[in-house]
C-alpha cells in the first residue's frame, strides 16, 4: 500500500458510520480538555488568594499576623499588597513553576514541619533564605510589578531613600530585596547575612 492510499483510507474511515466511536472519543477529549483547562486555571485563581494562603494556620498565626503591622497591609492610600502579590509571579510560566515548587508546602503541612511558633521560628531562616534567593535571582520582579523605578519621584522621597536609590538601585548594582529584607515579616537571626 502507498502512503496516499493510506491517507485516503483514513479519510474515508472518518466519513463512514463506523467512525462514530472515534468521533465520540475526540469530542469527549475536547470537552474534557476545556473543563480540565478551565478547572485548572480556576484552581490557580483560587489558590492565588490571601484567604487560601492563610487557610493554613502555619501561615496565618505567624507571617500573616506580622504582616498586618506593616505598610503593605495598612497605609495612607489603602492599597494593599497581598501574599501572592509578593510571593507568586504574575506571568503564567513563572507562576506554574512557583506553584509546583509550592506543592512541598502541602507535604510540610502534613509532616508538621512548622506547626508551632517555635518550629516556625526555628525554620524561618532557611525559608527566608529561599525567598531572598528567589527574589535576588529575578531582580525582585514581584516588587517591581507595583514599584517601578522609572516612576519614582525623588523629590517626594526622603533624603535617605533618594541617596540609596540613586546610588545603588539606579545603577543596577543592587535590587530591592538587598536592602528591604523584612519588609513584611519578622526577620530570622540575621547573623552572617550580607549587610546585616
Amino acid at each position: 500500500m502507498t502512503k496516499a492510499n493510506n491517507k485516503k483510507g483514513f479519510l474515508q474511515y472518518l466519513k463512514s458510520p463506523n467512525s462514530a466511536g472515534l468521533w465520540f472519543i475526540l469530542l469527549i477529549g475536547f470537552a474534557g480538555g476545556i473543563i480540565f483547562w478551565g478547572g485548572f486555571n480556576t484552581a490557580l485563581e483560587v489558590t492565588n488568594t490571601e484567604e487560601f494562603c492563610i487557610s493554613c494556620h502555619e501561615m496565618e498565626n505567624n507571617v500573616y499576623e506580622e504582616y498586618r503591622e506593616t505598610i503593605h497591609y495598612s497605609n495612607r492610600s489603602g492599597v494593599r499588597a497581598t501574599c501572592p502579590d509578593c510571593h507568586v509571579p504574575k506571568e503564567w510560566t513563572h507562576k506554574i513553576i512557583r506553584k509546583i515548587a509550592a506543592s512541598k508546602e502541602v507535604w510540610g503541612k502534613l509532616t508538621g514541619i512548622i506547626n508551632t511558633p517555635e518550629k516556625f521560628n526555628g525554620h524561618r531562616r532557611s525559608m527566608a533564605e529561599r525567598e531572598w534567593k528567589r527574589m535576588k535571582e529575578n531582580d525582585s520582579r514581584e516588587c517591581r510589578n507595583c514599584h517601578n523605578f522609572e516612576y519614582m519621584d525623588f523629590s517626594e522621597q526622603g533624603n535617605r531613600s533618594v541617596k540609596m536609590h540613586k546610588d545603588a538601585l539606579g545603577t543596577g548594582e543592587k535590587t530591592c530585596i538587598d536592602c528591604h529584607k523584612g519588609i513584611a515579616h519578622t526577620l530570622p537571626d540575621m547573623k552572617g547575612v550580607e549587610n546585616w
Binding site: 506593616t70 505598610i71 526622603g158 533624603n159 535617605r160 531613600s161 541617596k163 540609596m164 546610588d167 523584612g182 519578622t186 526577620l187 530570622p188 537571626d189 540575621m190 549587610n195 546585616w196
Partner: protein
C-alpha cells in the same frame, strides 16, 4: 503606742479622703490636661507626625544622646536583627551616609571596650528618640551649652 498609731491611721485616712474630694474640682489650677477635671474625658489631641528626614538636630548638652532626625517606623531592634546598625554600624556608615555610632557604644558598664556594640547600647530607641513637629507642653528655661553651637 498602739493607740497613737490608730490615731495616725485615722487621721491619714481622713486626709486622703478630703484630698480626694478636692481633686474633683481643680480650683482653676491648670495641668497638662488643661483645666479638665479627673472625671471628665478630654478630646484627644490630633496625632503628631514624625518628620520623614531632616538634618541632624542640635544637641543641648555634652553627652546628650542626639535625637533621631528621621522616621523609624517599622525598624526592628531585637535579638535577631538591629535595623539601626545596618546604617549606623561602622561597616555601613560610609555607604549609607549615616553617622557612625561613637565608640562609647562599645563600652560596657565597667568601662571595658568590646569588639561590637555593647549590650547596654544595643536597644537604640532607649536613648535616641524621633521628633515630631510639636510645641513644648510646658515652658522651660533650660539654656543649651554654648560650645555645642546652639544660639
Amino acid at each position: 503606742m498602739k493607740r497613737l498609731s490608730y490615731v495616725v491611721m485615722v487621721l491619714g485616712l481622713a486626709c486622703t479622703t478630703t484630698l480626694h474630694a478636692q481633686e474633683v474640682n481643680s480650683g482653676g489650677v491648670e495641668s497638662l490636661r488643661g483645666t479638665a477635671t479627673l472625671d471628665e474625658t478630654k478630646k484627644a489631641e490630633t496625632m503628631k507626625r514624625v518628620i520623614k528626614d531632616k538634618n541632624p538636630i542640635a544637641r543641648n548638652y555634652v553627652h546628650q544622646p542626639p535625637m533621631v532626625p528621621h522616621q523609624t517606623r517599622g525598624y526592628r531592634v531585637d535579638l535577631n536583627s538591629n535595623k539601626c546598625l545596618t546604617c549606623h554600624g561602622w561597616k555601613y556608615a560610609a555607604e549609607t551616609g549615616a553617622t557612625k555610632v561613637s565608640l562609647t557604644h562599645f563600652e560596657t558598664r565597667d568601662g571595658k571596650t568590646l569588639s561590637d556594640v555593647s549590650p547596654r547600647r544595643y536597644f537604640c530607641s532607649q536613648c535616641h528618640v524621633t521628633q515630631a513637629d510639636a510645641k513644648p507642653l510646658v515652658d522651660n528655661t533650660f539654656e543649651p551649652v554654648e560650645s555645642l553651637g546652639n544660639e
